[in-house]
Amino acid sequence: MKIIVLIKQVPESQATRMDEATGTLIREAASSVINPLDLHAIECALLIKEAAKEKCEIICLSMGPPAATKVLREAMALGVDHGVLLSDRAFAGSDTWCTAFTLAAAVKKLGLPDLILCGERATDGETGQTGPAMGAFLDLPVISFVSSIEQIAGGWRARRMLEDGYETVEIDGPALACVLKEAAVPRLPTLQGKRLSRAKDIDVMSAQDLGVSQDDTGLKASPTRVVKIFRPSHLKKCEKLPAMDPAQAEKAVDRVVCLLKEKGLI
């Protein structure tokens, strides 16, 4: 069995920088980490491997600048077998269509696995589109909002978190699953894992290696264009009311009720 986990390198803090000229996110931010939800995807893969009767190989795949080898190494320290990085100037500025197309091309090169796992969304772009779009390129059923997944005879069983409850689905054959935090609790790397990961190679692939042309990847090929970026201010001038003693509390609560009436909320 083979599982490919897609991991994205994201800035550690929410203070994301953007290139005002092209309107793309600056990815070379000093401290980058594995996208938090992707850690849950890695853990799902490790648990499936541990439960499997057959031999199972886990590959982590990431597209990003050369510095993204760091997150691949972190994944390998957790027990992932191989790391593959797609890195090329030609990929720069890809929107989700181009990112998914490029990642899908790599998956085809690596050989279609039994399962592809990704995070439901990344903390920087927050689109949650990359996974499902890859499903289209690879002709795989997309199982989104996954809160648990296990192997069954001939395929997979997954639980999906929907607006109004949990749905269980069964899938025949390979699938692509986008997981939520609930899917598994990520483990911590061990010392031995870290040592082993340093010895492992990371394959780096370029556009040419993948056979992906400039017409299909990078800023120019992307269907979407960022026209403008701006920082909204959600900061409000807060009307702060002391409500420590009963009299203050009463007054403060009355003020809230008054505001709710003004706004037609009651």
């Binding site: 920087d124 772009g125 589109q129 959600h234 909320l265 009651i266």
Partner: protein, 332 residues
């Protein structure tokens, strides 16, 4: 010749049109008027009644296109993807917007991938650019710290998912007329490698992302039993109870109630954060709410920077008092 139509992807649950569809009509109607073209609702399901479909026309659509088959009763990734693709290829709409729900966020990227269309996720603003007629799509990113406006200059349709609750549902008016088309997709579009085997409705009566009012429970509640105080306030306001990750990790509320970076993004009309400090991770899921009120005993808590009114005091005194006063105000 007027430009090609604007489409919305309406949703249904158990044969009834889901409310979020009416929010899409508000958006779609505006865009169609600006472009001088028709608004068409596409809805996938199993033989919806004419009366149900008519509600989409009553609220502002010129046409309803219903793809009907037993396989479309519940969302299944492949038939939904294939049927929507087939309709787009046949009719070539200029714009297609869907709700940023579990359905919309899954099917739209699949379709956009296959058709090489541009897709923008979770938009809170949609507008037509005056000169070009292109759709300008504005969305929050990076936990709401950045807003980006995006367009798709060349590829069609221009596709976007829209954050639920980011606009009002279109009101119903009598006497509107429109065309209802039913389409029975061929069997090869309905094949699915995925089977829905079970469904368990959510324990909480109302999902936080569907609610107009969310009361958020944070670590300040101290223990599970105290969550009842938030439930009571939610009851009088017809709202739902959400939670910070601290409250979820302690088992006070189930994970579907978690608001924030690794939980849900909500944008209700009213968000009352109680005993929640307001970390960036929590703010990421709620700072676009219309009105935010905070209750916290620490007058320096960051949540106050995002609130319209902040009560600095003990939630155990303030919550029951607020609940009682709101109940009384509603009585009178």
């Amino acid at each position: 010749m007027s430009p090609k139509a604007v489409w919305i992807l309406a949703e249904q649950r158990e044969g009834k049109v889901a409310d979020v569809s009416y929010e899409l009509i508000t958006r779609g109607r505006e865009l169609a008027n600006q472009r001088g073209t028709d608004l068409c609702a596409v809805i996938l399901g199993d033989n919806l009644s004419d009366a149900e479909l008519q509600t989409l026309i009553d609220r502002g659509c010129d046409r309803v296109l219903h793809a009907s088959a037993p396989e479309l009763r519940h969302f299944l990734p492949e038939p939904y993807d294939k049927c929507l693709q087939a309709l787009i290829v046949k009719e070539q709409p200029e714009i297609l917007i869907a709700a940023a729900t579990s359905t919309g966020r899954t099917v739209m990227p699949c379709v956009a991938g296959a058709l090489r269309a541009g897709l923008t996720a979770d938009c809170t603003g949609l507008q037509i650019e005056a000169d070009s007629g292109n759709l300008l799509q504005t969305r929050p990113a990076a936990g709401g710290n950045i807003m980006a406006t995006i367009k798709t200059p060349e590829r069609r349709p221009q596709m976007a998912t829209v954050r639920p609750h980011s606009t009002r549902p279109a009101p119903s008016s009598t006497g509107r007329t429109g065309r209802i088309d039913r389409w029975l997709p061929p069997a090869d579009l309905l094949k699915s490698r995925v089977r829905r085997v079970d469904f368990t409705p959510a324990a909480e009566t109302q999902a936080i992302q569907d609610a107009d009012v969310v009361i958020a429970v944070g670590r300040g509640f101290k223990k599970a039993d105290n969550v009842e105080l938030a439930r009571k306030l939610a009851n009088v306001l017809n709202g739902a109870v959400g939670a910070s990750r601290e409250a979820v990790d302690r088992g006070w509320l189930p994970y579907p109630a978690q608001v924030g970076l690794s939980g849900k993004t909500v944008s209700p009309k009213l968000y009352i954060a109680v005993g929640v400090s307001g970390t960036v991770q929590h703010l990421a899921g709620m700072q676009t709410s219309e009105t935010i009120i905070a209750i916290n005993s620490d007058s320096e808590a960051p949540i106050f920077n995002y609130a319209e009114i902040g009560l600095c005091g003990d939630l155990f005194t303030l919550l029951p008092m607020l609940t009682a006063k709101i109940a009384a105000a509603k009585q009178s």
